[in-house]
Symmetry: C2
Subunit: 268 residues, 2 copies
């Protein structure tokens, strides 16, 4: 990868992914293509960001399809290292971030953001990009990576794109393919819940607990297994005493065995 | 710093220091000068590698003198950031390394190598050097930084120089200035102990405990406050069942209030 990069000139746009590319990834590639001379997509299902009992083994993989999609989408190169190449058997370096990894996805996925910070640091050092592209669907990840870049002084600009959705509002995700037909229908409840929250807030509701309660009731029509419903400050993920300013509404919900996330950013 | 570097061309040699430069640092600068187009010395007393009750506040500082020494020694630039510039008030990113930070200096200095890995990662990302220079006196630090570079995929070559010693054998160190005349004389016991160990081993002794015992007896003529005496494998810092192969003998000893370290590498 380094040899390839060293031969090329100009700015590098980097899209790190775990593969099984969908429209969200391709929107990242498209943006990277517009803003850089060289576009590199990495495909690596990173074991260190999966916890015990999570879907590391089952996570969908299709390198041939992904490579074709990345190429058609505008990538100049795909970086798809093996696990052994990235983590040697004695690997013992971990990049840890505190301050914004205490709630939301961090609570139910211990080690998740350590895994992300470690792999992102490694990939940034390998690719040395000018810009790296992340989807706003992983809102906490975007904040974590921005903090990582600022605090470890990476010379990388983090660029984001809005959530890409299916026609019925479901946020696109590699994990959507786990859903059977019935679950696929139920899964629209995440977006419907966010729309409901927006509506209530636009009508004047400012109490966090009231909005959460209404979201919760709606979701419970489809599933009892809610991981979290959070309404927090956009930039710090800290709790709000009232819904005001730059607000992030974030959800994680199990539809059957599949954990799905979604979020909405509001200026109130 | 980045603006300065981006204007220059050619390879970058980087010498990270905590300042109060001595002959050891200048030997690093000299080597960097020989091997690179641009030589950058950083001077930063890194608070995160000092523990509670350690000498962060007292650590000697003299930026004016250091800048002149670095320049005379061959540096093109000195990077001396403030603590606030390096660590913002919300700073929460830590780079942690496991496997070689469980013994030697790590035992008595919890958080020490986390502090080193974090600041080294930050400085590497700011300076983006081709080569970075470290003294073999900090043998464990050299191993830790090499592992860090390998595992976070920094595109930096780690270069080392042998321990620089005073005429009577004392390893040069910024902390030597803490010693009063009597302590300065006692301090030679570290090197004398290493010489004794070498002699015994050359005579055929292969038992770790016997060599440690003899070192210990000699040191106790000067001080009762021994932090550690370790005889371990050079590359892994793991315990040896017998003294054979590439061996590191490492000492940390308090002379008065001052903690001094020294080491010797042997091929047996």
């Amino acid at each position: 990868m380094r040899e390839f990069i060293n031969k090329e000139e100009g700015s590098i746009g980097f899209v790190p992914t775990m593969g099984y590319l969908h429209q969200g990834h391709l929107a990242l590639v498209e943006k990277a293509r517009q803003e850089n001379d060289l576009v590199i997509v990495s495909i690596f299902v990173n074991p260190t960001q999966f916890g015990v009992g999570e879907d590391y083994e089952e996570y969908p993989r299709d390198l041939k399809r992904d490579t074709k999609l990345a190429e058609t989408g505008g990538a100049d190169a795909v970086f798809a290292p093996s696990v052994d190449e990235i983590y040697n058997p004695d690997h013992g370096t971990v990049v840890k971030i505190e301050g914004i990894t205490e709630n939301l996805c961090a609570s139910s996925r211990p080690g998740f953001f350590e895994g992300i910070c470690t792999i992102v640091s490694k990939l940034f050092n390998i690719i040395n990009p000018d810009r790296a592209y992340f989807g706003q669907k992983d809102a906490q990840q975007v904040l974590v990576v921005k903090k990582l870049v600022a605090e470890l002084n990476f010379a990388v600009e983090i660029r984001t794109i809005p959530i890409v959705r299916e026609a019925d509002g479901l946020a696109v995700s590699s994990r959507n393919q786990y859903l059977n037909d019935e679950e696929r229908e139920s899964a629209t409840v995440l977006y419907r819940a966010l729309e409901l929250a927006e509506e209530i807030i636009n009508e004047g509701e400012r109490r966090v607990e009231v909005v959460k309660e209404k979201i919760s009731s709606l979701i419970k029509e489809e599933t009892d297994n809610i991981d979290y419903i959070e309404i927090v400050k956009q930039n710090s993920l800290k709790n709000l005493s009232e819904i005001k300013g730059s607000v992030l509404i974030a959800l994680a919900v199990y539809i059957g065995q599949t954990r799905l996330i979604d979020n909405l950013m509001l200026e109130v």
